[in-house]
């Protein structure tokens, strides 16, 4: 498009010829970067929505819970099958670390969503090495219009660091969940989450975070969250001291489920 305008440049000059080549390279890199940023942005938004959806799974009706889990699973898989596949194709043949800054936000948010889903549904999370097996794709080489039907194996690069940054954010969602549980009388869950986060915190303490500013910040936030949860558990214990602990859950449930509670009240008081 611009060709005719540049006639005034001496195309026979060797320097100009060199720089023509350099321009192509630079432009290709910038364009790819922009495309990856957009892909990452989409992943971020959808991951946030999945987390939102999962917070609604705090219901006692198992059927609804199962439905929500199934939908979350489906949408997480769609991210893997569609969005991350596109991302992998962009990164294929490139040094992924060159573009990491462009997609780290989306990747971390996805990991946060995935871990939260795993924790809710299965009570524990999968390690990094399981995660990376999900990101393997087979792409048909249909770019060239001949009948070459060979496939190329492609995979997403997920540096462990991004996994642990996502893990840090995940504990933020656990804090929300823990305090919500307390408000709705689900005491055992509250203790369970708190202990789980305690383990994670102790895990991070063993890591030498110096030189990794992001990680240090996450651990700091994690400690804040943990102390809020510990204080919540403390409150339960202190209040529970006024009646026997084993009756506590019943009382709290009675209190917070007025519909159900009404019938049971008769027996209790």
């Amino acid at each position: 498009k611009r060709k005719e305008l540049e006639e005034h440049v001496d195309e026979n000059n060797k320097v100009i010829q060199m720089f023509r080549q350099y321009t192509l390279e630079l432009d290709a890199k910038h364009d790819r970067y922009e495309r990856i940023v957009k892909l990452s942005r989409d992943i971020t938004i959808e991951s946030k929505r999945i987390i939102f959806l999962l917070h609604n799974a705090a219901t006692d009706i198992d059927k609804k819970k199962e439905q929500i889990y199934n939908e979350a699973d489906l949408r997480l898989n769609q991210l893997i099958e569609k969005n991350f596949k596109l991302l992998s194709i962009e990164l294929h043949g490139q040094d992924p670390y060159l573009y990491l800054r462009a997609y780290t936000a989306g990747l971390q948010e996805f990991i946060e969503a995935l871990l939260y889903y795993q924790f809710l549904r299965y009570g524990s999370i999968e390690p990094w090495k399981n995660l990376i097996t999900k990101f393997q794709y087979s792409i048909s080489n249909s770019d060239n219009h001949n009948d070459d039907k060979t496939n190329t194996e492609v995979c997403m690069t997920v540096p462990p660091m991004e996994f642990f940054l996502g893990l840090g954010d995940f504990t933020g969602e656990l804090l929300r969940k823990c305090i919500n549980s307390l408000g709705s009388g689900n005491i055992e869950e509250c203790f369970q989450i708190c202990n789980y986060v305690k383990d994670i915190y102790t895990g991070f303490l063993r890591i030498n975070c110096s030189g990794y500013k992001d990680l240090g910040r996450k651990v700091y936030v994690l400690k804040q969250s943990l102390q809020k949860m510990e204080y919540a558990c403390y409150t339960i214990q202190v209040r529970g001291s006024e009646i026997p602990r084993h009756m506590l859950a019943t009382v709290v449930n009675t209190v917070t489920n007025p519909d159900v509670g009404h019938e049971e009240d008769e027996g209790f008081y």
């Binding site: 917070h55 929300r176 307390l182 009382v251 209190v255 007025p258 519909d259 009240d265």
Partner: protein
């Protein structure tokens, strides 16, 4: 030559900025008045935290309603100063106090009839439009007001018990629970509303603790059997 053109360009910009500053100054004066109103309404309604205030609450609501009339006339002034279609150019000035007044209107209505006030009713109480192309009530400001209400109600629940009123906490618990469920439907961004909503959980927890304290001591009134909760306020 270019000098003259430049001068013209900048003179009109100067006029523009000057007139903007004038508008802002007028807005600031009116908002100051509204803030004064809000402070007065808040003071009037603080009666709820005093011991044995049950009887005085309805007269306080009445006083608040009168003060809301002043608020209305101030918002009318404000809407005349702000140019049409530029609500969000200036809304930093009144955003905060409007949230506060949404809280106060919602509290008044809660005290009067025990229900959650709708955004259109609040708009009416403040004397602003519900049509977003006029001087209206922003949805997010209304929602922030509701979150402030929950915080006040948590404190109210505690003080009601101190006053020996064991029904109020039950009413508040149900009310805040419903609000909480409502908020969980919203797809919140990582903004101030989200942050405030995260804090709501702690207030829900606090209220539950009060209800729990009552129930283990057998002080919990048989609230759910009282079908006519709204009527409580209006009696």
């Amino acid at each position: 030559m270019s000098n003259i053109v430049t001068t013209e360009i900048f003179t009109s910009f100067q006029d523009y900025l000057h007139s903007e500053q004038n508008i802002r100054e007028e807005i600031r004066q009116i908002v100051k008045e509204i803030e004064k109103n809000a402070r007065e309404i808040l003071t009037v309604l603080q009666v709820i935290h005093q011991e044995n205030s049950a009887q005085e609450i309805s007269s306080s609501c009445y006083k608040a309603r009168q003060l809301f009339e002043e608020v209305q006339s101030n918002y009318t002034k404000l809407s005349e100063v702000v140019p049409t279609g530029q609500y969000y150019r200036f809304n930093d000035h009144w955003k905060y106090v409007t949230q506060r007044l949404c809280f106060l209107a919602a509290l008044t209505v809660f005290l009067e009839v025990g229900i959650l006030v709708s955004i259109s009713t609040v708009a009416e109480i403040l004397g602003v439009s519900t049509n977003s192309s006029e001087f209206h009530l922003d949805l997010e400001d209304y929602l922030m007001g509701l979150l402030q209400l929950c915080s006040e109600l948590a404190r109210f629940a505690v003080n009601a018990v101190t006053s020996g009123d064991y029904e109020r906490p039950m009413q508040i618990s149900k009310f805040v629970g419903e609000l909480n469920a409502g908020f969980r439907l919203l797809n919140l961004k990582n903004d101030s509303l989200r942050k405030r909503f995260d804090a709501l959980k702690y207030e829900v927890k606090k209220i539950e603790e009060v209800v729990y304290d009552l129930s283990i001591r057998g002080l919990k009134p048989d609230y759910s059997s009282k079908t006519n909760i709204q009527e409580k306020g209006t009696e």
